[in-house]
């Protein structure tokens, strides 16, 4: 009988103890797995979100939050200049403003109105009902609008609805006249916040809304998105843009992720590190305690096996296998358990206001599973070390004598 089989038989001979131990390891393992997913999940999700847009460089006028940034003037000319750079493949101008939308018989809703360059729509939203924005003849008068699912629900909008739009002015009541927009489609927006209502219109529609607040076509952009040529890469594009327009800030996705990793994400990294360490400590103590108690209960049995000629290595191997069974079975059960727990925790955390709807805190990655299994293996081996040492160093004759005397 192999050490593996002997260990299994030892554990199953006391099923209640074995099940409790496996359940304990599974719960602790699930927490550990979740913490490992959390330790990189937000970063992976953020990176994925940036990459989804299809642009790998962002150009803004100043640092800081989008709503507080100074807009980039002469956006059309800038986009044309950037397009001429050999490192640049595609350029999109991104505009964003806050407006009030009114539908008869309903309270006005605050909405984020966006506009992107023609052709960039496919990276920004996906039509689920109706049509996409129309351009060209008649677009100027019709003022087409694509609305998010949440906005459609809030104002009972469907393709064909007419909605009144008025720009908002921060801190003051607005008396700017409303304009009518025609809803042509309902869409899922890639970057919309979980608690935000979003709509998109053409550049002309957007400029008309802005002109209501500040007359004159200012041709401003909140950000310019750039896709670099794959052969040259985003860093080359950033260098070229900085050379062309040193007054602006250009960031590659890598730089944004690195900034996020250093600033906003460090909180989650620290939390996950502390909780991972604690859960590993619990797993170690649980398995070490169980095995030590088990060994102490079976000292005479082990001394007898040694007297019968079983080697120290064989006894140690059997105990290591006991640890491996407990940690292995519990650890594998922890994966689906941790997955379910992560779904629930992710749902709770994503309900925080101001977060992009598609951003996740817990992201499943093969790397997280590998790290989890490696940590659990080391913990299992470490936890078995003391009981193995006790069993291997057991004085055979003294232990047998003690058993008889007792």
């Amino acid at each position: 009988m192999t050490s593996q089989a002997l260990a299994w038989r030892t554990l199953t001979a006391n099923p209640a103890r074995g099940l409790l131990a496996v359940a304990g390891v599974a719960v602790i393992g699930a927490l550990l797995f979740d913490m490992l997913m959390l330790s990189s999940g937000l970063l992976v999700s953020f990176r994925d979100l940036l990459d989804t847009a299809g642009y790998d460089v962002r150009v803004v006028a100043t640092d800081g939050l989008p709503v507080l940034r100074v807009p980039i003037p002469h956006a059309t000319a800038l986009a044309a200049d950037l397009s001429r750079q050999p490192e640049v493949q595609e350029v999109a101008v991104f505009r964003l403003d806050r407006v009030l939308m009114t539908m008869s018989g309903r309270w006005p809703e605050g909405v984020t109105l966006i506009s992107v360059s023609e052709g960039a729509e496919r990276h920004t939203w996906r039509i689920t009902r109706g049509e996409n924005l129309i351009t060209g003849e008649g677009a100027l008068e019709r003022r087409p609008l694509v609305v998010s699912d949440r906005l459609a629900t809030a104002l009972s909008l469907t393709p064909g609805s007419i909605v009144r739009v008025r720009p908002t002015m921060s801190g003051v009541a607005s008396a700017i006249p409303e304009m009518e927009f025609h809803v042509v489609g309902v869409a899922e927006f890639e970057f919309s916040m979980a608690d935000d209502l979003t709509a998109a219109t053409t550049r002309d529609g957007f400029e008309q809304v802005r002109a209501g607040r500040a007359p004159g076509n200012k041709d401003e952009a909140d950000a310019v998105l750039v896709a670099s040529r794959p052969a040259l890469g985003s860093e080359a594009a950033v260098t070229a843009i900085n050379r062309l327009r040193p007054d602006l800030r250009a960031y590659s996705n890598e730089q944004l992720v690195a900034q996020f990793n250093q600033n906003g994400f460090s909180y989650f990294r620290q939390i996950s590190f502390v909780l991972s360490s604690i859960t590993l400590g619990f797993a170690f103590l649980l398995v070490a305690t169980l095995l030590t108690v088990s060994v102490n209960q079976r000292l005479s049995e082990m001394a007898a096996l040694r007297a019968l000629g079983f080697s120290r290595r064989r006894i140690a191997a059997t105990l290591l296998w006991e640890s491996a069974w407990l940690v292995g079975v519990g650890g594998l059960l922890a994966l689906p358990l941790g997955g379910l727990l992560a779904l629930e925790l992710d749902r709770i955390l994503r309900a925080m206001p101001g977060l992009p709807e598609r951003l996740h805190f817990f992201v499943f990655e093969p790397r997280a599973v590998v790290r989890y299994l490696a940590l659990l293996t080391v913990t299992g081996l470490g936890a078995a070390a003391y009981p193995v040492w006790v069993a291997a160093r057991l004085p055979i004759a003294a232990t047998l004598r003690r058993e008889i005397v007792s």
Partner: protein, 224 residues
């Protein structure tokens, strides 16, 4: 005839907080192949200590022990384990069968340890369980056996690798008189089959069956 095991001037002292306690003092003993020796004496006289030395599970403080021509003191731990596994059989007062294994598996275990082929293992286990009269109880766990049955399984386990020497420490200590006599009968058979036996016992009936009886007192052999 060359003895299986021979101890010369064996002394075993145990360190204690109040000073060393000498459990065995200058004992010399030789066990020849096929011999049946009983060691008797009051509790604490050093019987089990002597048995443990003969079985290579303990080392003498002074004196020499030679097993089948090899000086035990010069052997590594691994070599001593190998001798115990292949040349010595142990029977304990409290049986020490593995509770999670069946009687059959308990008997198979030492054979598996030295890598005997499964088919040969099965044949030997069947033979041994038949030998001790428990062929129909092979799949029972120790908890499902009586004390006498457990001791018979333990004897079968001790004989599994065809040892030259069977050591038994109070093998009837946990058994009633009748059951103890059955176990004694079994030792007679083992002896008749050519295995040397050293039995430590308080049981005069069991001791009376041995060819040679040693009486011990305060760590020394007082008569033989």
């Amino acid at each position: 005839m060359t003895p299986i095991v021979e101890g010369r001037d064996l002394t075993r002292a145990f360190p204690m907080p109040a000073g060393p306690v000498t459990a065995l003092r200058d004992v010399s003993i030789a066990i020849s192949p096929g011999e049946y020796v009983a060691i008797a004496g009051p509790s604490g006289c050093g019987k089990s200590t002597l048995l443990h030395l003969l079985g290579c599970v303990d080392a003498p403080t002074t004196g020499s022990l030679v097993f089948e021509g090899r000086d035990v003191a010069r052997l590594t731990e691994r070599e001593r384990s190998r001798i115990r596994l292949t040349r010595i059989g142990f029977v304990f007062q409290r049986f020490f069968l593995l509770p999670m294994l069946s009687a059959w598996e308990n008997v198979e275990l030492p054979q598996a340890e030295i890598g005997i082929h499964p088919a040969d293992r099965r044949a030997r286990t069947r033979e041994l369980l038949d030998y001790v009269g428990l062929i129909d109880r092979g799949h029972h766990r120790p908890s499902q056996l009586s004390g006498g049955e457990m001791q018979r399984v333990a004897i079968a386990r001790a004989l599994a690798n065809r040892p030259a020497l069977l050591l038994a420490d109070e093998p009837t200590g946990e058994l009633d008189e009748d059951t103890g006599e059955h176990v004694a009968d079994l030792f007679d058979r083992v002896h008749a089959d050519g295995t040397a036996i050293v039995v430590v016992t308080h049981n005069p009936v069991l001791a009376a069956r041995a060819e040679r009886r040693l009486a011990m007192k305060r760590g020394t052999v007082v008569s033989s």
